[in-house]
């Protein structure tokens, strides 16, 4: 018995087999739970099927055509774009500005950085609960402050004109610290000599920021931009716990719509999957465009 065990061990220790043994668990998990579902999703998007997967019916590209005919689909797409194209620039500009001020490793700067980074530990639920209560028009502190300076009562999450901006604000609140930290790390890599010679030339701090710092961290900017764009296109949780897509679907994004079609009422997995395929395509196109820009800029 021991002999047999030893033989097995020797077999799997020799040559390149060690490598296979060590990557096998990770590859298996990724294959079974990421790659196979990806391919399965293309198939499911061609079926008409409910959540229990009882008698699936093949319907071809009907699900896609139906999505393109549905106003709620276009509405959720529009909301996703509004969210993404306001949230990402906001938090990048805030992150860049704060990082520029906090680049050096002084203890005050470190303190500020760790304060800004704090929301990383807040779940969407916690952020949602917190802001819903602070903005609550009956008991909220913000409502009270606004009223004490003479502004009218505002229902931040119930007013259809404002709700989306409130959600964007909460999202920026939650994640600008992450961008700040990544930008700081990038800025610290910019060679100090560049600043020294600029100082000798009498360049102002603003000038230095735009002509040394920013060009110096282009790869970092692209990294944050691409990851944040992809993340924002998939926004779900903050909206799910605060507005639930309302009022009047004004904050319903793609993933919120997909989730509700797949799992809440009158479940239709095929239709929902077809929509997620559309979102996947959009994300893929955006990533490829930005990656190509990035590679071009790096060569230049």
């Amino acid at each position: 018995m021991m002999d047999w065990l030893k033989r097995v061990r020797n077999y799997w220790s020799s040559g390149s087999r060690t490598g296979y043994v060590m990557v096998a668990p990770a590859i298996l998990v990724l294959l079974i739970f990421n790659i196979i579902p990806l391919f399965a999703s293309f198939g499911i998007s061609l079926l008409d099927v409910n959540v229990l997967f009882n008698n699936p019916k093949f319907v071809g590209i009907q699900n896609y055509l139906e999505a393109f005919r549905t106003p709620r689909f276009w509405n959720s797409l529009k909301n996703t774009f509004i969210f993404t194209f306001l949230e990402v620039p906001c938090q990048m500009v805030i992150g860049l500005a704060l990082a520029a001020v906090l680049t050096r490793n002084k203890w005050v700067n470190k303190l500020f950085r760790s304060i800004y980074f704090l929301p990383i530990i807040c779940s969407a639920t916690a952020v949602g609960i917190m802001w819903q209560l602070i903005l609550n028009s009956n008991i909220g502190y913000v409502s009270w402050m606004l009223r004490s300076i003479g502004l009218p009562k505002i229902s931040f999450l119930k007013d259809p004109e404002i709700a989306m901006y409130t959600v964007i604000f909460m999202s920026v609140w939650r994640s600008f610290g992450i961008s700040t930290i990544i930008f700081v790390a990038g800025m610290q890599e910019v060679p100090a000599e560049l600043y020294e010679s600029a100082d000798l030339d009498g360049a102002s701090k603003f000038r230095e920021f735009f002509s040394i710092t920013l060009p110096g961290i282009i790869p970092t900017i692209y990294f944050v931009l691409i990851t944040r764009l992809i993340g924002s296109m998939q926004v779900f949780d903050l909206i799910f716990v605060t507005t639930g897509g309302g009022p009047n679907f004004r904050t319903e994004t793609m993933v919120n719509y997909i989730y509700s079609r797949a799992f809440s009422s009158d479940t239709r997995l095929g239709y929902a999957t077809a929509m997620s395929e559309c979102l996947f395509a959009i994300i893929l196109i955006i990533s490829i465009l930005f990656y190509r820009r990035m590679l071009k800029d790096e060569q230049a």
Binding site: A26, I27, F112, I115, N138
Partner: protein, 275 residues
């Protein structure tokens, strides 16, 4: 000139403090409000500090919802996925960094590509698959798909690539196999990278909303992040327990942040440099 510099840094400090206040005040206000009596919460104008500190809200939260079950479930999910994925990711990270085997590049590219797949594309097939495998609403169904993560593999690979070759040779002279070199020499050196991964992994799993929402339906399997969401909604009128529930859900990760802040920051900062 000097005067101007001083004024400049004062303004800078004021702006930084203002931003810090926007982060901290809501959290503090929620914390203080969770200790307010019901009467005081709805009194107008709202105060920042509680007039009288009471624990009613916490008692209500724990009475109304199976909070202990939620906390236990979140802890089991976070700890088990983090431990398992740390192990599996460091195996893979090490193999990709230091070992030679055929197909290594193909496999590594495959890992890279899974990073491009958004979760919402795979979530429905994954849900169906877990259902068909009969492990829906079980720990197996929750934990298995989260046993490895591409980010973790990359982080460990980046760390192991940076270690000197001499270490490996020294191990080989001592007659260690590749496994021995990994377990006895390399892994102990990787402690900082491992801790970073553990901290970020615990935080990510604890705060995850969509994934546990998808993979469980039974109240007994529910986690804190979605259980607590029930305390506040469009028609909430009893606000006290909502404050307390928010605090309870944040507390464990807040403690983790206070002790492991360095790892949070370093883990996030280096993610951008590799890109």
């Amino acid at each position: 000139m000097k005067q101007k510099r001083k004024l400049g840094s004062f303004i800078k400090f004021m702006i930084l403090s203002f931003v810090a206040a926007i982060i901290l005040l809501p959290v503090l206000w929620m914390f203080f409000s969770s200790f307010r009596a019901a009467k005081e919460i709805i009194s107008w104008p709202p105060k920042f500090l509680p007039h009288e500190w009471v624990f009613d809200n916490y008692r209500k939260v724990f009475k109304r919802a199976p909070m202990m079950t939620y906390i236990k479930n979140s802890a089991i999910f976070a700890v088990s996925t983090t431990c398992l994925s740390c192990m599996i990711n460091s195996f893979a990270g090490y193999a990709f960094a230091r070992l030679h085997f055929r197909g290594k590049n193909v496999l590594f590219t495959m890992c890279l590509m899974t990073m491009m797949i958004p979760f919402q594309v795979t979530m429905i097939p994954l849900f169906t698959m877990i259902n068909k495998m009969g492990i829906y609403d079980t720990w197996a169904g929750l934990i298995l798909p989260r046993m490895a993560g591409v980010m973790g593999i990359f982080m460990m690979r980046a760390f192991f690539v940076g270690l000197p070759l001499e270490l490996e040779e020294a191990g080989r002279i001592d007659g260690l196999t590749d496994y021995g070199i990994f377990a006895r020499i390399m892994l102990p050196l990787a402690k900082p990278a491992l801790v970073t991964q553990i901290v970020l992994g615990l935080n990510g799993a604890w705060n995850d909303l969509l994934y546990p929402l998808l993979m469980t339906s039974n109240v007994r399997m529910r986690m804190l992040s979605n259980g607590v969401a029930l305390f506040v909604g469009q028609d909430t009128t009893d606000y006290g327990p909502a404050f307390a529930a928010g605090v309870v859900s944040m507390l464990p990760m807040l403690l983790l942040y206070l002790f492991g802040q360095r790892y949070f920051v370093e883990g996030t900062a280096t993610s951008g440099l590799k890109g």
